[in-house]
């Protein structure tokens, strides 16, 4: 997976936090991992398909998820319920959508990629499988709402290109 795919997602996280959560998401060092274990109590996954196929996974500790959902919706939420899951799904959807648009602008008029509907995984004992040898990029973030992580993977899509 090429590094050029990272920035659109990081910019998208930045934009979401600054416009709808009124705070800054500070990016940590990008790491490469083959581990299928993604930490966090709530993981929101969105798939992207088209000339490339990829997945973005945002993982949140419960406290961060509640704080983000509270700020997002404008009401105090203290327990990770369906409201929080739905909010994290929308966060992932917006991040993926923003990145998709940025990737399209850089792709010189390819057909825009499509997004899957978000998937939410709750709990702490799970493994996410992807094709053997696949490498995830992991980006930690910190914010006044708490820490969270983003993981990305991209592989060649239907036409085999991975420009």
């Amino acid at each position: 997976m090429e590094v050029k795919y990272i920035n659109p997602f990081i910019e998208s996280v930045d934009e979401l936090f600054s416009t709808m959560l009124s705070c800054e998401a500070r990016q940590g060092d990008v790491q490469v991992t083959r581990s299928m274990k993604i930490g966090g109590d709530i993981v929101a996954l969105v798939g992207l398909t088209g000339s490339r196929r990829g997945t973005v996974a945002l993982s949140f500790p419960s406290a961060t998820a509640c704080a983000v959902a509270s700020r997002f919706i404008g009401m105090e939420i203290t327990e990770c319920d369906e409201t929080v899951s739905d909010a994290m799904a929308e966060v992932a959807n917006i991040v993926a959508g923003g990145a998709k648009s940025r990737l399209w602008q850089a792709s010189q008029n390819e057909e825009p990629m499509s997004l899957s509907l978000p998937t939410i995984i709750s709990g702490s004992d799970y493994t996410i499988n992807y094709p053997a040898g696949a490498v995830w990029l992991q980006i930690p973030f910190s914010s006044e709402l708490g820490d969270f992580q983003m993981r990305l993977i991209f592989v060649p899509g239907g036409n085999g290109s991975d420009k």
């Binding site: 959807n93 917006i94 648009s101």
Partner: protein, 121 residues
């Protein structure tokens, strides 16, 4: 002003309702897919429809096409993460009147709704 919100995300519907309430708009109905939006606009008159794009059953673009095919001229604003220029052109050609890209600033939504609020009040 009577507003219909079509979005499969409960979260996004709540956020939009919060924005509408600041404009003292409280006559609001919600649906979670495009098909339900088509049915709602066939059954009732709305002053504005705020339409997501990616929804189950029927997406927002297909819903706009269906609503316009029925001769309904209700103002429709797309509220979506689909922000590529080609997508915006597609939606406008299908009959959407305005376009709000997620993530949005509350002020952006207020400004766009105010632009039609006087005409429908």
């Amino acid at each position: 002003m009577k507003v219909l919100i079509a979005d499969d995300s409960v979260t996004m519907r709540r956020i939009i309702i919060n924005v509408l309430n600041t404009l003292e708009i409280t006559d609001i109905e919600e649906v979670s897919d495009g098909q339900a939006a088509v049915e709602a606009t066939s059954a009732k008159a709305y002053d504005l429809v705020l339409m997501d794009w990616n929804m189950p059953k029927m997406n927002g673009l297909e819903a706009v096409v269906d609503i316009r095919a029925k001769g309904n001229k209700v103002p429709i604003f797309m509220v979506t993460t689909e922000s590529e220029k080609t997508r915006i052109i597609e939606a406008i050609k299908a009959g959407a009147n305005n376009y709000i890209v997620k993530p949005f600033k509350k002020e952006t939504v207020i400004e766009k709704i105010k632009s039609i609020q006087g005409a429908t009040a």
